[in-house]
Amino acid sequence: MGRYILRRVLQAIPLLFFLTIFIFALIHLLPGGPEAVLFNRNITAAARANLRASMGLNDPLPVQYIKWLTSALTGNFGFSFNTNEPVSTVIGRAFPQTLQLFGAALILALFIAILLGVVAGVRQGTLTDYSLTVLAYAGIAAPVFLIGLIFQDIFGVALRWFPTSGTQTASATFTNGFAETLDRLWYLVLPMSVLSIAFIAGWSRYLRSSMIETVKQDYMRTARAKGVGPVRLLFRHALRNALIPLVTVVALDFGSIAGGTAITEGVFAWHGMGLLFLDSLDRRDYPVLLAMLMIGAIFVIAFNLIADILYGVLDPRIRYA
């Protein structure tokens, strides 16, 4: 297994290299370009040329690419066209926000989805199962912004339990780190819940379907005959064998961290990667876009690798020769 992981990590290097070319080309194919979108229309031709030169847009594309790649390899991703800050600063501001929101939502979703999936799978065809099915598809069919607005209305406006937008209390002074963390968690509750609903709905469906197949296997009967209790039977014996599809999908959804949260971020004014991506796309902010897409690609590759490793852990018969 160690050799397999090493090989996959080494493979990731040429893959990422290929992706830099592909993504670089795609970004430069964007209609308009920074000149049309970002520059003031009334500036003189000389100023325009100056701006182009300062952004490095005068070189031929291959030269631009090589310049970007060589500096990126040394950890310098350039400066944002939009704010003139270093790209690392711009992303360093947005990424922790998304990581918090996304991470919290996914962990919450994972717990609830496993619970609901197991219950629905074991109780297939009962009222419980059908109720969970209806709820799951309501969660899938309801647009995210709609769920967001409803949550804001109920828990924020009517009940006044949680703040409706932002990431922490503005201009508040905190006596200690604990109070600040608590305040941030407070703001996290609503966006996290809204974001997790679609994940819970989808993931519980996958787990339900594989649990239905697993509980009918012979070894389940054997385990029950040997006197294994119901909870241990379901969560140790059945769940482990039913997890492979769920692991696949969860890893794929984790991989969407770089842009998968845009709508929720928009509804709750949570300035993370999703909003940054849309904003950079609108403004043709090439350096920020490039860095974001490469981060996204690293997440995709890493989580699919983790999924492949987990398959072998869950089912030792799976080998990658």
Partner: protein, 316 residues
């Protein structure tokens, strides 16, 4: 006596399916049926699956034949009439009207034709592509698996939004065909990785070795023996893809692909109504409900299909 009592007690308290031994009667000795026939028969006995199918047919009838009965023009705007814009459900407009006075019921019908067509065909294309790539990768493993899965990683790493932005400049094709193909190109990755993961586990199982021993060829092993065992996650993915694709269609029309205003689709009715939700929630509720009911009934059909395909399912 004592033992049989205890057996009885067990079967009633735990609710386990202890099946009585069947006597071999004339009814049980049936003709040998084909695999397809067995699956079909099982499906037809599943009440929920039949209910789902019927509802789906009803949805198609509503969208395709409904306009013959409900004759209001879905694209007839009536901006000047105050009573006819953003009106709640009434007798004249059972589902209400939108901000320019379109009748929502008529638009649900005309929009449903687009959404059902795009949702179902793009789902089918994506699933078939995913099954093809995933089963080859999982079955053969090694370098084939590696190449196909790294290709999948590449597709997953390109955000759809970025590509749509790029493509929208170079060509704007107004037919649903381009929308369906674009959605399918991005939709197959989950199915491929799901099928592959199932195949990785299935190919190590004893029954595959057994079939191989008696001379089953690779294609037969893949599609006759392994694929039905991987049906569960594929069907879940297919059902979820429909609602994803119906919503995606509206994203694509925002970029100038596919339908254009004043033509309607369910996804577009929702995204257009987004800003008016506070004023008139009805303009979102009905298209969202249409998507919900479609996906729910498709799920019932899918569950019935899954049960029918399940080799562990005993004939009852």
């Amino acid at each position: 006596m004592d033992i049989s009592e205890r057996l009885n007690l067990n079967s009633t308290t735990t609710g386990d399916e202890i099946e009585p031994f069947l006597e071999v009667t004339a009814e049980l000795v049936q003709k040998r049926r084909s695999q397809g026939r067995i699956i079909f028969d099982r499906f037809m006995r599943n009440k929920m699956a039949i209910a789902g199918s019927l509802f789906l047919i009803l949805m198609f009838v509503l969208c395709f034949l409904g306009p013959l009965v409900w004759r209001l023009d879905p694209n007839y705007a009536n901006v000047l009439s105050v009573t006819n814009t953003l009106s709640p459900p009434s007798l004249a407009h059972p589902f209400g009207t939108d901000d320019v006075g379109h009748d929502t019921l008529a638009r649900i019908m005309s929009g449903g034709r687009v959404s059902l067509l795009v949702g179902l065909t793009s789902m089918l294309m994506a699933i078939l592509l995913g099954i093809g790539i995933g089963s080859v990768a999982g079955f053969y493993g090694g370098i084939i698996d590696n190449v196909l899965m790294r290709f999948t990683d590449v597709i997953l790493s390109i955000p759809l939004y970025l590509l749509l932005f790029v493509l929208s400049a170079s060509f704007t094709d107004g037919t649903p065909k381009s929308v369906i193909i674009l959605i399918a190109i991005f939709g197959w990755t989950y199915a491929a990785r799901l099928v592959r993961s199932e195949f990785l586990a299935l190919k190590e199982r004893e029954f595959i070795l057994a079939s191989r021993t008696i001379g089953a060829k690779n294609l037969r092993l893949m599609f006759r023996h392994m694929l039905p065992n991987a049906a569960g996650p594929i069907i879940v993915n297919a059902t979820l893809l429909i609602s994803t694709n119906i919503i995606l269609e509206s994203v694509l029309s925002y970029f100038g692909f596919g339908i254009k205003l004043p033509d309607a689709s369910w996804g577009q009715m929702i995204s257009d109504g987004q800003n008016l939700f506070a004023v008139d929630p009805w303009i979102i509720i009905f298209p969202a409900l249409a998507i919900f009911l479609t996906v729910l009934s498709l799920n019932l059909v899918g569950d019935g299909l899954r049960d029918a395909l399940d080799p562990q399912m005993t004939e009852r």
